[in-house]
Symmetry: C2
Amino acid sequence: MDNILHFRTSDILKSDKEFVFEKICTEPSNIGYYSLTEQNIDDIVNFSIPKNITKIAIIGIGGSSLGAKAIYKFIKSAKELKRELIFFESTDPLDITKQLSRVSFENTHFIVISKSGTTVETMAIFKYLYSKNDNKNSYTFITDKDSPLDSFAKTIGSNVLYLPKNVGGRFSVLSVVGLLPLFLTGIDIKALLEGAKAIKSSFFENGYIKDTLLKKAIFYAKHHADYPINCTFAYTEALRYFGEWYVQLWAESLGKRQKSSIFNVGVTPISLIGPKDQHSFLQLIMEGSRDKSVTFINIKDFKKSLYVPDIELKNLESLNILNNISFSDLIHKQSQAVKEALILQKDIPIDEIEIERVDEKSIGELMFYYELLTSLVGILINVNTYNQPGVELGKKILKQKLKEKE
Amino acid sequence: MDNILHFRTSDILKSDKEFVFEKICTEPSNIGYYSLTEQNIDDIVNFSIPKNITKIAIIGIGGSSLGAKAIYKFIKSAKELKRELIFFESTDPLDITKQLSRVSFENTHFIVISKSGTTVETMAIFKYLYSKNDNKNSYTFITDKDSPLDSFAKTIGSNVLYLPKNVGGRFSVLSVVGLLPLFLTGIDIKALLEGAKAIKSSFFENGYIKDTLLKKAIFYAKHHADYPINCTFAYTEALRYFGEWYVQLWAESLGKRQKSSIFNVGVTPISLIGPKDQHSFLQLIMEGSRDKSVTFINIKDFKKSLYVPDIELKNLESLNILNNISFSDLIHKQSQAVKEALILQKDIPIDEIEIERVDEKSIGELMFYYELLTSLVGILINVNTYNQPGVELGKKILKQKLKEKE
């Protein structure tokens, strides 16, 4: 993985870098996600389900599904997997009906994921499924140890696995939450963790990514008021759901009231996919308000030989310049062209990330990179990166409404 | 369709409403989308393709695909359609490979859509397809009259249909661009146009939507610097691709350099889906920077009876409040609860749109409503709503790169 910054970093103080690096070095002792790269995955790789199971359904929402979905969709775009993943992640009755039509109790294993064990969406859907099929072997539960759901799972005698301590939902992709379903589809979870570990080592042990990450985080935090929006612009459809994961990670971690102040802060994340969004959002970046930084994300090697053929179409001779180009090369050139056009504007902070290919190691690197970036920016803008108090009021009002109904 | 504004509108001047209404009344004479509700659709409803065709593939990007995709995915979530729509809308070699695996030249009709006739992505993919299958009957072309693609289509003797005059790509969903593929899947395009027409009449003939739309547009324009971001928060997965359409419409129409000034303006659109994004973006809206307005979009009647069963789970008795509730009711209550939580913050402008159900008339209403809103805001912030000069530089640089390669 490579990351090049095209914005000015010469004015970033050494002392700011030292300040934030010192702070982040204290986090691994009480924030769980940092040590997931060293976890024991024996329980996961020894997990066995019957041979007739061809589908794994995740009943979960937010941090309980976005990470696995991001990796699954990414890897699936490049290779055949041995099982399909299905996601029940909405209370929309049309969506539930659609997902139900894709599974059967004979061929599907259901993984019910809720950290608290009482997530409304997840438990409403689980209740529905359980009323149709109460075979304890159809379900595996992932929750906090001693949650109500843990107790329930034990009562019925189902398998239950625990989230590691101090790992929040949106930082849980590399825990059992993401690893179990991914492993069951045939994804190489060791390579995934190796990718994450490579970035972690590079950052904490003075490798190539350390200085870049520190500079980028400091730039985002310092210029937070000038550039309150950060867009990722990934040139591959394979990263669409990575985009959703990034939006959750960033929005929920950094959109906060500052510690010891009444300031509401946070950089707004937007996920774009190229070249499609060249025909949509790009105009706004180029000519709209100058409130956005943009991170291009490219795949170095698509490992796919597909070429525009060497044919001339009558009256369309101007398109001969496309002949004999590979689509990989074309999409790279599109990304480069847009990047250069934005750099020419001079007042839009641009950087570019390149990952090697569509494989487990590359996505592991990319995700751990983004987790570190989030933690760094959180320290710098002085928020609690790991809680989400703002979602409680809506939950409380919902509970009142549900009680009134009774 | 209904729209309730929860932000303060008492200070909106009658003269501002008169100003913008007078201006928009001059647009229908030279902006084409307004009159699409009255178009003759005989050519479309008489369009015949062989019985063995079960799939329609759209080769198009941006305005050439987003509108049809939004409506297709919306309707498909509630009813069986007679043909499948497939979208080739990226140069990503992995995505092209995936879409190719879903079609065959025997069972698929290809609709190639490019206003200019020389869109790089569309034409690169078309060249590839045409090199594999040059049967003129496999293709229909939609382009501007006398474009190079029109000439090519005539040369090979394929069917070609024209975009109406003065209809830009992102406003073309209700023209042949959207209507032809949608009609071929069995979608009721008359009802779609009726929905659009209902909103148009209501707006231009002093109906219920006129005052609301004017107030909303004036509020967005006046408070453009305070609330540079607008989020739609649609409580149904069925509107996911409507969200992408809205983002293009809004970003490309309003992200501009102002007429006769050097100001870069534009409100940034973000599409959210509930309840999923309660577990992602909501935290940022609740506690992050106060730079966002939010529009809730709800479906009044999902026409789907699906209930949380009346069962008690041991240790999960607290979830009994969910028993016997329909999922439709649950998702409505979730939307209401989050709306009320945001209104309590007092400094987040909220409004809510309710459409009747998941059918053609409702989506026709919603899309025309958003087109009108876009036109109104464009007038008020003094930009040219209908061009997109900012995307040209990237295209120019790409062309240079492609020539260098040669």
